[in-house]
Amino acid sequence: MFSDTDYKFEIGKKNRLVLIAMLAIPMLLLVLGVFSGLLQVLFRAGYIRATSFLGIEYYQGLTLHGVINAIVFTTFFEVTFGFVIIAYYLRKAIPSGWLYASFIVMLIGTLMAAFPMLTGKASVLYTFYPPLKASPLFYIGAALLIVGSWIGYFSWIPQYTSWRKENPGKKTPLAVVGILVTFTIWFVCTLPVAYEVLVLLVPWSMGWTKSIDVVLARTLFWFFGHPLVYFWLLPAYVMFYVMLPKIAGGKLFSDGAGRISFMLFLVLSTPVGLHHQFSDPGINAGYKWFHMILTFAVAIPSFLTAFTVAASMEHAAIARGGSGLFGWWKHLPYFDRDRWFFSYLFCGLVLFFFGGITGIINASGNMNLVVHNTAWIPAHFHTTVAGPVFLSFLAMSLLMLCQFRGVKVPFPTMNVWTPWLWLLGVSVFSTGLSVAGILGEPRRTNLGLTYANPTSDRFVASWHVWDVVGAIGGVIMFLSTALFFINFFAALFAKPQEQPGDVRFPTAEPIHDEQIRWVENFKPWIAVMVLAILIAYVPPLYQIVTGKQQKAVPYYPWSPAPESK
């Protein structure tokens, strides 16, 4: 996978141990998160017809699944990846103090939020919409996890600005552009949700304030919630642009496309959140339309990426003997154990091929009426966050772990097949849930008790067969991750055969490498980003804050009476 021209970076023992912990602890939690996912599909198909199974209540399990898989695992991975990428490509040492601080704050936050989730006091799902109320620990823990994730970013900025001074006129390494854009988006978009959590939710959950503006809470959450998906996607894009072409045996078609795409994401990721609230009251239709237009715009850099990645793949395939309009696809290293990283990334791209259009459909204004809150929605996001994001994060976690520990992948054949099994699983799963969703099946619902229960008078026969399809897909997905866990945890404990801490990233050379001056500097793009956010969000927030909607008191999920124990 690597050549001698790939730079070798050495990570000392102190930092190495923390980095390994930052990979392994979330991976351990992910075992629980993935198991919760398996239970979900069994409940949904009516194989489990109960409120709980193995001591995990349905909505508690759903909360664990969403929070662990989509927030804890992803955030920890990205901070870890960020520290390593910045150090590697800028050739600077990882600042230990900042690394430790990141790890500790994020870990404390995670444990703090985990406790109420595991004891059933935070079954509010990862969107935690009020007036359903969780234990204050849940909100505080979540806030700590988020704030902890900023710490790394704050250390990378000064490292980057020194690098710019030390390297005048040189292009910023593309991976660094990607990571800095990722975390700039993250920092900006976590501000509204930090406000929602710390200023609105915590006092309300502690009883210091009586009632809460639900529409405001939702709007602040989705102000964060859409850029969140770009926080997830962009590190995968870094791998697609910077590493995938090299592992495939080729070059990156256009370095400029990557830079332009990242800057477009910086500007357009955030001012689009209302497309998650198309069916909400309290917000003018005009604002919803405006966010729709901006959402269509943020699809553009992904189209550009798709083309550039395909062109890079074609270049690699031709170098390996391929030719023709479509025949070259045969010549990529799909099952090469030594290039296993390619398989993970490629399978992610296949899923994203479907993920992209399902996202555009969701964003298309009134078309959202066909799909909102139906099972189509989880079908969509398992082809995106559980597609390219999940697979690339797993693969990079394994790659980094093996390099930190100085071990080879313990079971290479199983490893190269793991992503293909995942691809099969998600394809089947998402097919089942998409069709059920178009037929009207709701998401986030314990179907096994009613809609998927033939003895219930709420049973809907037309959905049931698709739920079974979903369950088959889910079982395959579970098997695939089980195989991954075997490799990961075996690597965690295997005896080192190489020098631990020697890090190398396969780094592609670009074919088209021209300097594009207008994407060289972050500052003007950040200014445009802020302007776009103000234009997109100040009017609707003003409408909400001055609106006549009434505030709401807290409820626990288990009782229809307001905040009764």
Partner: protein, 257 residues
Amino acid sequence: MMDRLEKKVLYVAITLMLVFTVLVVYAGMGLGIVLPTCNDRITPFTEGKVIPKENNQFEVHYVARMWSFEPAELVLPEKAEVDLYVSALDVDHGFEVPGTNLNLMAIPGSVNFAHQRFEKRGEYLVICHEYCGLNHQNMTGKIRVVSREEYTRLMQELANRTLAAGEKLAIEKQCSACHTSDGTEGLGPGFKGLYGKREKLADGSEIVVDEAYLIDSIRNPDRQIVQNFDRGSMPPTDVPLSDEEVRQIIDYIKALK
């Protein structure tokens, strides 16, 4: 700057998104398929209600609460044009009717609005599709769209049932001792045609008889007494009528047009 091909890729992508935009706008403005929207005209309500209007139009107030919809079952004649106002009493709920484009959020403190024409007969499921607590999967309602003849028959049946039940209760609780139901004079104001009537009160003010007035008159008979009727005639406030029974009396009075 950018490769020629990449520029073409950008143009194709932008064109595709523009085509989508135009079609979406057409579906909205041309075909009238609009997103649910807020409205300030109606303050959040706590009771479900069906208000029939002329020309087969209806206004329905839906209340979503943990874990049911009110009205639980809505009966409509085919081709009914319905203005739906949806709110929630406690936490966020959803309101979805598979087979239609009805797909709204029911948010406590706000009222959401959507319009739907129920073209075809059939039974439609109303589903809560936003997690709202442990019994979320039990939260459903029903909309039955029937033929016009069937609708008329069902409404008549409902009216008869209301009349029969109300009449029985009025006799049982001795309301009919003083309040007649056939327009003849009695010791108290007659029930026939009472609902919606303009009455002059003893203190000189004028009111229109609505639900609130009726409830108050039953619970506190002398407070808003109609002029020319004696105070102290109607038994005092601890008349043993439950809220449900008061409701039935009011429905009875309403049915006595």
